[in-house]
């Protein structure tokens, strides 16, 4: 017997991927249920109490502009801001906010309650399909419910196992039993792999001697996570920095046999960019010390998250090495650090739209696809939900915005579904070929073709529309202004005496970008935020042109026939890539790019080869 409600979409799991998926699905008018095993865990930040950072903010800002909630709720719950890479160009600025865990969770719950999403507290035990097509979900208490599509976002709960030293227990994260029933279904139907991650101990704030530590004060430069946030009135807290020392290193080195990772108990692949303190000491032990960032978990929380010392050592050793660190001499621990092993699905089991190849209308999003990080999970939740809506409701949506030259979500999807993963996948800006263009301050521009009132409330939508109109107005004015090299010389701006008349937009890159300066020069009023954005547009314009040309080249790829090219004659292609090209025999370059494992760089080599070949013939 099926439960009375018939859903368009059932989202299983209410973490960052699940919440975003349910939210988008609901906003696009689909009848949506969100299943969580434990209501109190909804929107829990299970690892560090912060959102954003380089690469991560980049995905989050795209989620934001697609109508997602991570940035908005993040800002509401933020108690400390920093912008990383501020000395470099805005393409790599990474705002990072320390989040009050309780506030975040409360705000998230409030938001879900206020939405039309049906929140169900129950455990999903089975996915129901007929002829490889989704028909519903089976829940432990309620029983069967019908749904046209299912988005599974169960994070690390699949066969999760946690380790402290030689102790281990089955759990997705501490305090949660792992979902065995579901795991069985997934393991039966999909290729999975075992991944590993870790978390540091949590320390009582009162037991830390802050007086001897260097504080990091929250910055106040008006840069927030969300495009729509105007201010943050929360009280701000300081973070603190301390360091490991030789004594710490010795304790850890002497006790590597009491580390789950080093004693051989854990065999799965760890994360290179998130090394445990054991890894750091073993590989880079000669350093004077490794930084530890003491991040308070909230305004009213008595816990501190010591970022930088995730480990799987025996509990006694953890306490011993912690107490060797400056400021932590008398520290008390609430929860010890541990390593988690879990199953994730090989993301090559997914189609480009995150639907599994095997079961129609069955979508996977988040950590289950082999990624790590809240922001990466959120991005996938949004992506899967939009594609579920396209599939179920036939909504109109220009999916070109998710090409890898236009968005980090696109880069993530492309990398996952084409290349798969060998370790939990985290976003880095260096993964994007078009890094100069994929900026957080222009995501509204990159997604302009799909910005819809459906995804926002009235105030948000009118803000974004107003800003776009205003920007266009200023740009039009700028482009009408003309300057000859002589004009510019008189204004103390050195340009080539090439006789070329430049418009205001082209001249902008020569100015110091302050609103005052801008007003004096062009007699146009502008906000600092917009000025920074168009200043770098002006500066990077020539590179956009170059990138665009190379992308146009790729767009022409559909016309570039490969039928008479012998890939084997291109010496720089790797064996894997050659095998794939020879197997799939793509008809044109565009198809070649769609083959799993073919990278843009490989395509470039093919184009270059084809050109060189042309030259030789001529």
């Amino acid at each position: 017997m099926f439960h009375v409600e018939h859903y368009d979409v059932v989202v299983i799991g209410a973490g960052h991927a699940g919440i975003e998926a349910a939210n988008i699905s609901e906003k696009y008018g689909l009848k949506t249920a969100l299943i969580t095993k434990n209501y109190s865990d909804l929107g829990k930040l299970s690892c560090n109490p912060s959102i954003g950072g380089v690469g991560k903010t980049h995905i989050a800002s795209e989620v934001d502009i697609l109508g997602g909630v991570i940035c908005k709720i993040g800002d509401k719950s933020a108690i400390h801001y920093r912008v990383l890479n501020l000395s470099k160009g805005p393409a790599v600025w990474g705002v990072r906010a320390q989040i009050d865990r309780d506030l975040y969770s409360q705000n998230m719950k409030k938001f879900i309650k206020s939405s039309k999403i049906d929140l169900i507290e129950d455990e999903a035990t089975n996915i129901l399909e007929k002829n490889n097509k989704i028909i519903g979900v089976e829940l432990s208490n309620i029983g069967k419910i019908k749904s046209k599509a299912v988005i599974l976002t169960t994070g690390t709960f699949l066969n999760g196992k946690i380790y402290f030293g030689n102790e281990s227990q089955e759990a997705g994260r501490i305090g949660n039993s792992s979902s065995k029933a579901l795991a069985k279904f997934i393991n039966k139907n999909f290729k999975t792999m075992r991944l590993k991650t870790g978390t540091p101990p949590r320390i009582y704030a009162q037991s830390i001697n802050y007086d001897v530590l260097e504080p990091q004060i929250s910055e106040n430069n008006g840069i927030f996570l969300s495009y729509f946030t105007k201010q943050n009135t929360n009280k701000k807290i300081n973070c603190f920095i301390t360091k490991t020392n030789n004594k710490t290193h010795k304790i850890i080195r002497d006790n590597l046999d009491k580390s789950a990772m080093y004693s051989g108990i854990i065999k799965s692949q760890g994360v290179r960019y998130c090394p445990s303190i054991e890894d750091k000491i073993t590989k880079f032990g000669d350093r004077n010390g490794h930084n530890i960032f003491l991040e308070p978990e909230g305004l009213n929380s008595d816990l501190v998250y010591p970022n930088g010392i995730s480990n799987s050592l025996d509990k006694k050793i953890q306490l011993k090495f912690l107490r060797s660190i400056k400021g932590l001499e008398k520290c008390e621990v609430d929860q010890f650090g541990y390593a988690v092993e879990y199953d994730s699905v090989d993301p090559r089991e997914l189609k480009n739209n995150f639907e599994t190849k095997k079961i129609e209308n069955f979508f996977l999003a988040g950590q289950i696809n082999g990624t790590t990080g809240y922001e990466e999970a959120a991005g996938q939740g949004v992506y899967a939900a939009i594609h579920a809506a396209i599939k179920i409701k036939k909504i109109k949506f220009n999916t070109k915005v998710f090409e890898r030259d236009n968005s980090y979500i696109g880069v993530l999807v492309d990398d996952l579904t084409k290349l798969g993963v060998t370790e939990p996948y985290r976003m880095f800006t260096s993964r994007a070929e078009n890094r100069l263009k994929l900026r957080t301050d222009n995501s509204y521009e990159r997604f302009s073709t799909i910005i819809t009132p459906k995804a926002f409330n009235k105030a948000e939508y009118s803000l974004i529309s107003k800003n776009i109109v205003n920007e266009k107005k200023i740009l039009d004015q700028l482009k009408k202004l003309k300057y000859s090299p002589n004009n510019l010389m008189k204004k103390n701006i050195k340009v080539k005496k090439d006789g070329k008349v430049r418009n205001g937009f082209e001249v902008l890159k020569f100015l110091y970008p302050s609103p005052n300066n801008f007003y004096q020069f062009f007699n146009i009023k502008i906000s600092q935020k917009l000025l920074t954005k168009i200043y770098f547009d002006s500066k990077y314009d020539v590179f956009y042109e170059r990138e665009k040309k190379s992308f146009d080249q790729l767009s022409k790829n559909k016309n570039m026939k490969l039928t008479n090219i012998d890939f084997n004659k291109i010496p720089s292609l790797s064996k894997e890539i050659l095998e794939k090209l020879n197997k799939h025999k793509p008809e044109n370059l565009y198809d070649a790019g769609k083959i799993s494992g073919i990278t843009p760089s490989a395509l470039f080599q093919i184009v270059k080869h084809k050109k060189d070949k042309g030259k030789k013939v001529a």
Partner: protein
Amino acid sequence: MFNEGTIYANITPIVKSPIIGYRISGEDVLFILKKLTNKNFKNNHSLLKLVDLYNYDGTILDKCSVVYFKSPKSFTGEDVCEIFIHGSPLIASQLEKTLKSYKIPGFRIAKNGEFSYRSVLNNKNSLKQAKAVNSIISNESFSLLEYNKRLLFEGDKVSGLAPLREEIINIFSEITASIDFVDDEDFNFKNIMKKIRFFFNYCNNLLHKNRTKIEQKSICKIMLIGAVNVGKSTLFNKIIDKDRAIVTEIKGTTRDFLSNLVIIDGKKFELFDTAGQRSKQGKIEKYGYKRAQSLSREIDHFLILSDKNTKSVDLKQLFYDFSVKNNYSLIKTKSDLYNYNTKDIKINHHLDRDNVLKKIKLSSIHKKYVNNKKIELNFDINEIEFLEDILKYEQDITKEKDILIIAQLIRNILDDFSYEFGYINNEDIYDRVFSNFCIGK
């Protein structure tokens, strides 16, 4: 498809000779050997065996040596056998007919370079090494042959580009780390720029040094020596074919020395016209003569000119002054005025250029010296061109202050290196990042 199927080809020319060799590579090798010899080679790898070969109709085809190399310990990394039949083209054609008669799916004659190609695919050789095999076979120049042999036996590290590739990957990794992992370690923009400038300086030096080396290598240096007024400048002018040296009848016109590059039949020569030898030299002429002498060590070949008036002591003195060994041609000038009874080359100023060139045989002199010149090379011409391409980025990168733009341009350089050395992808970069820097929290 390229990497599928078993392939065969003759590895010697199929002409009447003591031996004709065949190589077969692929997964059907053992099967073929069993068919061909009635023997199982499975446990007989890397051993030269004398066996009977059987024709497709069961008759004996030949008695000959066969060697089987078991995968991966073979040239291509696949199962390989080499068969050395008696050198009769007839036996060869019968062998091929027999091989084809087994009708093995995908069995076919190898394309040009396919064995080497498979060796690269199976990681037996690097791309550069495979290219080197090809160059060794086709190279006619001794130094390049040495270079290619070293590439083959010692690996990519021999190439002068290899350390550059390492360095640019390191630089790109550091830039990547400094952007994506900014708060994990202390990165310093100035330091990165210093490394970049060092990289380009290094490229420039390499380019300059090796271009000179290669150019020098292909040039045959010829010096004209002889008594004053014997006609060195006349011959010099005739060869270079323009009025560079002033030719007069006054003794001692060429006071220092003149040199000129000239290309004859596509071959490069540097020609030196020297001050003449005479007992009473002016100060400047003496200096010129000395300068020419000091150059003599670099000279490949001397044209020693003399005429009826030249005394044999003076000739001996010339041999001594210029340390001439057996690298010389003797030339008698003014053959229109005098009759010479020697085997020496005889010329006079009435002869046209072609005739003169024919007589002094510059082409064979070039061949003799240039091909045997030994210079330690770690670049070939293509690699030099590659360096030039890389250096086109120098201005843009070193003047730039925005690290993101620098990163973008260096990525272009990496793509160029990919083309030369094989593929460099993001993962290669991250490997470097995570092993060089303590990244992450």
